[in-house]
């Protein structure tokens, strides 16, 4: 309840900042030493928020469907891509974590690359794997793959931390019960990794959304909200409010995914402690 209140307060502050800057800002932006340091505040660059809301209700093109339907459909399309990517990424991350936990040598050989994969902008590969679309897999699957690539990392690292979190005495206790690796995994390591897993999944959800949006843009996949942002931003000179409707859609998508991932943990985490997961 209080969180909801905070969210509303934050939203009001954001709206006030936007309209406030629009009211006092220089319509042509503020130029210092030949560099525009503050953005233009004219209607073309920063439309009034009510213009954006009103634009949602009007047709996309003359005589077409209203913009909000188009945006929601695009979001659903991207949501599907995100979900596939998230699931693939999470499964791969989980398996990787289990294997790394089981074999120290694999951890030593692989973990540096897992961390490396996040410190370097491998997502820059997106335009390159675009060539895979339509040849070895459908175009949307390529986008899912990019989303999965971004999502696997927090799960792999968070889960590895979680699997390694039981104390030595816990492991020795399982050993005294003559429990093998598998039973130790199921009875001890999995349950104790849950507090690490869920924050990691939340990170993975957010990463999958970014991956899907960026993937759509760089592979030129049509139908999703990422593509919509690019298309609408090209019309910004004639129809400035339109691109903001697509932005709203992307924000909504991010929130929905975050909410869905949080739902996953509700039944399992009621009586558990919460830990902070630092993945990098």
């Amino acid at each position: 309840m209080r969180k909801l209140l905070y969210a509303v307060v934050g939203l009001v502050v954001a709206v006030a900042l936007w309209e406030g800057y629009k009211a006092v800002g220089n319509p042509d932006g503020t130029v210092l030493f030949g560099v525009r340091v503050l953005p233009r505040a004219d209607d073309l660059s920063m439309p009034h928020l009510w213009t954006v809301l009103e634009r949602l209700g009007r047709p996309e093109l003359t005589g077409g469907r209203p913009v909000w339907i188009v945006v929601v459909r695009a979001c659903l399309f991207t949501l599907g891509i995100t979900a596939v990517g998230f699931v693939i990424g999470a499964v791969v991350g989980l398996l990787l974590a289990v294997v790394m936990e089981r074999f120290r040598i694999v951890e030593r050989g692989l973990l540096p690359y897992v961390i490396l994969s996040q410190t370097v902008p491998l997502v820059a590969l997106a335009p390159l794997v675009a060539g895979w679309g339509g040849t070895i897999m459908p175009a949307w699957a390529v986008v899912s793959l990019i989303a999965a690539y971004l999502a696997f990392f927090p799960v792999a690292v968070g889960m590895l931390r979680g699997l390694q979190s039981p104390s030595a005495s816990g492991v020795e206790l399982m050993r005294s019960y003559a429990a093998g690796w598998w039973r130790t995994l199921v009875k001890l390591r999995f349950p104790s990794s849950l507090p690490y897993l869920f924050p990691a999944l939340r990170l993975a959800g957010a990463a999958a959304v970014v991956g899907a949006v960026v993937g759509e843009i760089s592979t030129g996949t049509r139908g999703g909200v990422g593509r919509l942002i690019i298309e609408y931003s090209r019309e910004a000179t004639s129809d400035p409010a339109k691109v903001y409707t697509a932005m709203l859609g992307a924000a909504l998508l991010g929130l929905v995914v975050a909410g869905l991932v949080s739902l996953l943990e509700l039944p399992l985490m009621r009586h558990r402690r919460h830990v902070e997961v630092v993945t990098l």
Binding site: K3, V120, L122, A130, V210, V243, A250
Partner: protein, 254 residues
């Protein structure tokens, strides 16, 4: 022998992966647009080193300026937020929500708000993306003070400002660097990816897309390698900085 145990496995894995990649491509006759061979990428990298260097410089400048701006703002904002408890309570869930949004998608809008020939929009996107990990981690660090330290400073009759300077800030440093580590790689990713959304065509991101558009895939991959090296430089520099700033930390990554 200790370093051999930690260095050897990754090196072996790396070499094996590159050899396997090379063999798959050359023996499997994989078309270059699917996956070029590492040898072809290397040749292009050597041939294009001047272009790669210049593009990396452009992207690196954007990333660095965005990183610096976002990090400074993040730390300052966290210091302000930590002073007022209600503000802390509002800002943490709010930052979590904002972090779930695809902020990178702001790039085209910022291109409209400024001008598409300016570097400001992508630096701004980078700064915004960097802001969140730095802000959230710093705030966490500022809030977590060892209760014994609190009591001890109380027995010294230390003022609020002394307490902040001697205990709160140094105690938060490890958290700041946790944020900075995440931020340093995010900055490079953001600076490169922001170029996919249009705007000035000088950095690695636009070079990759244009090379891909000309179906010069090995060349595009060479620029990707450049981007990877840039990201690595940022990350390792942050690690080094962390080491120098906090000599009392014996382990590099906790």
């Amino acid at each position: 022998m200790k370093w051999a145990r930690s260095i050897l496995p990754p090196v072996v894995v790396g070499v094996l992966a590159i050899v396997a990649w090379e063999l798959t491509v050359s023996l499997g006759r994989v078309a270059p647009f699917i996956l070029p061979a590492p040898s072809a990428i290397w040749r292009e990298l050597v041939a294009q080193r001047q272009n790669v260097w210049e593009a990396a410089l452009a992207s690196g400048t954007n990333a660095l300026i965005g990183l610096a701006a976002g990090a400074v703002l993040g730390v300052l904002a966290a210091m302000v937020a930590s002073r007022f408890k209600p503000l802390t309570e509002v800002s943490i869930p709010f930052a979590a929500v904002l972090n779930a949004l695809p902020i990178i998608a702001l790039a085209p809008i910022l291109n409209n708000m400024f001008e598409s020939t300016s570097s400001i929009p992508r630096r701004l996107v980078t700064a915004i993306i960097v802001f969140f990990p730095v802000f959230v981690n710093t705030l966490r660090g500022l809030r977590e003070v060892d209760p014994i330290h609190r009591e001890l400073m109380h027995t010294y009759a230390a003022s609020g400002w002394t307490f902040a300077r001697k205990v709160r800030l140094p105690g938060a440093l490890p958290y700041v660097f946790t944020g900075l580590r995440q931020a340093s790689s995010l900055a490079v990713i953001a600076a490169v990816v922001a170029e996919y959304f249009g705007g000035l065509q000088t950095g690695l991101g636009s070079r990759i897309t244009s090379a891909a558009a000309f179906t010069a895939y090995p060349r595009a991959w060479a620029f990707v390698v450049g981007a990877c090296l840039l990201g690595l430089v940022f990350y390792l520099t942050t690690l080094l900085l962390e080491r120098l700033t906090m000599p009392w930390r014996t382990r590099l990554i906790a």
